[in-house]
């Protein structure tokens, strides 16, 4: 008896929907084993991770706050990935967006500047994110440089640039030498939705982005072009769609969304620019994009789920002394299982009675 992977005649739509759920189930099983090895009760640990955060208003708001940047970045990334353009550098675009938007906040600090400041910051963040994402896109189109490498490497450039600014020119003189800018003025801050709560306007912007992208992909010719270029490049060329143009476009849009998420994060929950404003949102968003099947609605759900693991991870650290890094392990295992389960969409397992060799030809 032998287990082989056999190609399906047609793609299975059922598996396409179920595969993320299988992946989540497998991840939970693996995590239970990991918790047991760490000497914790797996049931209790899973409860703290996945159930407790859903039971109080503070945690629920916090989940939405964490999901906001994840969803916005992942929606942008999904456009890239659908078009077969591999933007791995959303983290860098997020940071550059935060820096560029903060520039206006820092420059208008303590002045009489009016309500134009926040919109200008958001616009600035989006533009800077887009321009930063265009660097790998243009290198790819003009010189054939791998966008995977260039976009990833630019993350560290952005990280160090932010670090330099908050330790040097933009450091808050009254900040006891901490590497941070001063708290932003109220006109430079994203308003909260519930008085005294943490949920802010950014969550609504994220929902609008999800809706707009769903329309773009499902209803417009541009969205169709993006999907065809990724699914069948030669057919796309035959259709008259320019792959290079779409690489540039999708990189610009995903960079803009990451940059917008960056400035919203800084002007919202954080309130000032400092290192470590992102716990790896730009990378976690890659998992969110794939877990959500590169579909805007799916990404919204996946973003909320991943946000839950962040909050659950924090609570597990407090309640059960489980290291916060376990959350990263969890996310890594999840991405691994999602991609593994996806092969079941086009392939299936079959038991074969006699062992056989690999066919040596086609026919």
């Amino acid at each position: 008896m032998q287990l082989v992977l056999e190609k399906r005649a047609e793609r299975s739509n059922t598996i396409a929907l179920v595969s993320p759920l299988i992946a989540i189930a497998l991840t939970i099983v693996t995590m239970s084993i990991l918790f047991a090895i760490l000497g914790k009760n797996p049931i209790a640990a899973l409860g703290v991770y996945f159930i407790d955060p859903l039971t109080d208003s503070y945690s629920l708001q916090e989940i939405a706050v964490k999901a906001t940047p994840l969803v916005m970045i992942a929606v942008g990334l999904s456009l890239c990935y659908l078009a077969n353009a591999w933007n791995i550098g959303a983290e860098g675009q997020f940071l550059i967006g935060a820096v560029a938007g903060s520039w206006i906040a820092v420059k208008t600090q303590g002045t009489e500047a009016g309500h134009w400041v926040l919109p200008a910051m958001l616009l600035m963040g989006a533009i800077a994110g887009a321009l930063y994402a265009l660097i790998p896109a243009i290198c790819k189109v003009k010189f054939g440089a791998s966008e995977i490498l260039t976009s990833l490497m630019l993350v560290y450039v952005a990280d160090l640039f932010l670090d330099y600014l908050v330790r040097g020119p933009w450091r808050d003189p009254a900040g006891f030498n901490f590497p941070t800018t001063a708290e932003f003025d109220s006109v430079a801050t994203v308003p909260v939705l519930i008085e005294g709560g943490r949920l802010h306007l950014g969550a609504l912007i994220a929902l609008a982005v999800v809706a707009a992208t769903a329309v773009l992909l499902g209803r417009t010719i541009k969205g169709f072009e993006i999907r065809v270029v990724g699914a069948a490049p030669r057919a796309a060329r035959f259709g008259g769609f320019n792959a290079n143009q779409l690489i540039v476009l999708t990189f610009a849009v995903s960079g803009a969304l990451a940059g917008l998420a960056g400035i919203i994060e800084v002007a919202g929950p954080v309130g000032h620019l400092q290192p470590g404003i992102s716990p790896g949102y730009g990378f976690t968003a890659i998992i969110v994009a794939f877990l959500g099947r590169l579909n805007p609605i799916g990404i919204l759900i996946a973003g909320l789920f991943l946000a839950l693991t962040f909050i659950g991870g924090e609570q597990a650290q407090i309640a059960m002394k489980i290291p916060l890094d376990v959350t990263k392990v969890f996310q890594g295992i999840l991405l691994f299982y999602v991609l593994a389960c996806d092969s079941l969409i086009l392939y299936r397992f079959r038991l074969i009675s006699t062992p056989r060799q690999v066919p040596s030809g086609t026919g």
Binding site: R237, G240, G363
Partner: protein
């Protein structure tokens, strides 16, 4: 490898290979339904059937590539279960596939060595390769790299590789599909010789005349079942076709009085270097095609047809706008979308992945080429109802059979998808249609529908350019036929004068008559004149 010679004295009494009730199921689909077939030594046995009749499945089971779900195979009278192709080869079963498995950047000898068991040294193997190819009249230079070779030569490598294992039984899958008539004749001499040596050959084909000429026995499959085993020499091509299709094939109605009008597609002295280092350079191609006319382009695959299609469609742009003129407008520099807006339509050879996005719905594939010139897009938004209407109209007009209204392109059979792809373009009422291999791998019924559609389109005043490797097809529908060889296009011959011999010579690269050719070419270039 077996040591016994193919001349086994007992082989006259038991068949060399026998299948008894051989059945292969894929889910609920019966690809092979209780097939009994007997292969005798010293016999060329034809396996006939339309696409999807189950020929490939049967052959794959015999070669050990798939396991039958039911039934038995007997080799020289004894039951045989194959674990894979290497066991089939060890017993003396060889196979030459339709799609070659050769590495372009390796030499002939290296490619052959990769396919063998590697028990002898490379030097011995090369010597044996030269000897086998010499003995059978299949000349090959072991040191040449495959990318330099013609398709016919590549096929020789595959045949020699199979022969080096001294098979008792050789399976050939559509071997003449890629050969010129002259090359095919040479192949038949080799096959006759193999037969005389006592080997058995299973010959898969759908070229009926060829089968009648070459084969001793024919087994006809239809819908996974064996319809009959007969002597093809005693049958007519029509009676064989009837058994294959199960019905009378509709005769294509020849052009009822077509009016030739103005030039709609003109190519002026087009030269273009290839993208791909192993591609073909287009060399000073000129032609003129008028409304109401069908021009056929014959030629062995890989002589620049793909490059020419890309240049015509605008998938590759020419430097000089004047080299391609569509409807009187210089279009060499225009994108495929702009050319479509000028009234041109294109059907590429490869249905899946080029003509359509396989995993997208038919309505989306209608949009793929329809977005330019139809009313499917309004202010950037897709009119889904309009795309579905195109699917419905193509379904109705061209009898596209599918499981639901709007399935994925990949789920259609080859013939039905081709009808959709051709229909999608014809429904746009193009002034110029450029179509490549319109009936490649399509069943006879669908082929007749498609050819009729091309004739009707020309009768309606469009200019149609058909590239095909099927000479019968071109003779049937084209008014004139030109031949492509090494990136050059011969002057077109009126179909009535284009005998198989003449076309075969041109396909092999020998000019019909040197002086005449040169003057005609100059005249054409002049007439088309910039």
């Amino acid at each position: 490898m077996s040591d016994s010679t193919p001349d086994d004295p007992h082989s006259g009494q038991t068949p060399l290979l026998q299948t008894v009730g051989l059945t292969k199921r894929y889910g609920t689909f019966l690809a092979n339904d209780h097939i009994d077939i007997e292969i005798w030594p010293k016999q060329i046995h034809a396996l006939l059937g339309e696409n999807g009749a189950g020929k490939s499945t049967l052959v794959k089971a015999i070669y050990g590539l798939i396991q039958p779900s039911e039934g038995e195979m007997r080799w020289q009278g004894e039951s045989m279960v194959l674990s894979g192709p290497s066991e089939a080869r060890a017993r003396g079963i060889g196979m030459v596939f339709q799609h070659f498995s050769l590495f372009d950047n390796l030499t002939v000898a290296e490619n052959v060595a990769l396919g063998l068991d590697g028990k002898e040294s490379f030097k011995d193997m090369s010597a044996r390769l030269e000897q086998v190819s010499h003995v059978y009249g299949l000349p090959l230079d072991p040191k040449r790299e495959v990318w330099q070779l013609s398709v016919g030569e590549r096929q020789r490598i595959e045949i020699v590789r199979a022969l080096m294992q001294n098979p008792k039984f050789l399976i050939l899958d559509e071997p003449t599909a890629v050969l010129t008539p002259q090359e095919a004749d040479q192949l038949f001499i080799v096959l006759d010789r193999l037969k005389a040596e006592g080997r058995a050959i299973l010959y898969i084909s759908h070229k009926l005349e060829e089968v009648k000429r070459l084969c001793d026995t024919a087994t006809i499959l239809r819908g996974g079942r064996k319809i009959s085993t007969c002597n093809p020499k005693a049958e007519t091509a029509a009676s064989l076709a009837r058994m294959m299709v199960g019905a009378e094939i509709k005769e294509v109605k020849a052009a009822a009085q077509r009016t030739i009008t103005v030039p709609r597609l003109v190519v002026n002295d087009l030269s273009l270097a290839p993208d791909d280092p192993h591609g073909v350079t287009l060399d000073r191609i000129s032609l003129e095609l008028k409304g109401g006319e069908i021009l056929g382009i014959a030629g062995v695959a890989g002589n620049g047809q793909d490059e020419f299609f890309a240049a015509l469609s605008g998938e590759r742009l020419a430097q000089d706008p004047g080299t391609i003129v569509i409807e009187g407008i210089a279009a060499g520099h225009l994108s495929i979308t702009r050319r479509r807006k000028l009234g041109a339509a294109f059907v590429p050879e490869e249905r899946l992945g080029h003509g359509t996005a396989p995993r997208m719905k038919l309505s989306e594939n209608a949009l793929l080429t329809g977005h330019a010139a139809s009313h499917m897009v309004k202010r950037g938004f897709i009119d889904t109802a309009a795309t579905l209407r195109t699917v419905d109209r193509a379904t109705e007009t061209f009898d596209v059979r599918k499981a639901k209204r709007d399935p994925e392109a990949a789920s259609l059979s080859g013939g039905n998808l081709q009808k959709f792809v051709v229909g999608r373009e014809i429904l746009r009422n193009p002034a110029v249609l450029v179509v490549s291999q319109p009936t490649w791998g399509v069943d006879a019924g669908a082929a007749a529908v498609i050819r009729q559609a091309l004739l009707d389109l020309a009768a309606g005043g469009a200019a149609v350019l058909v590239t095909s490797q099927d000479l019968d097809e071109l003779t049937e529908i084209a008014d004139r036929i030109a031949v492509m060889f090494h990136g050059r296009l011969s002057p077109p011959l009126p179909t009535a004068q284009a005998s198989r011999e003449k076309l075969g010579l041109l396909m092999g690269g020998s000019p019909l008559d040197h002086d005449q050719k040169d003057t005609t070419e100059k005249d054409t270039a002049h007439a088309v004149g910039a």
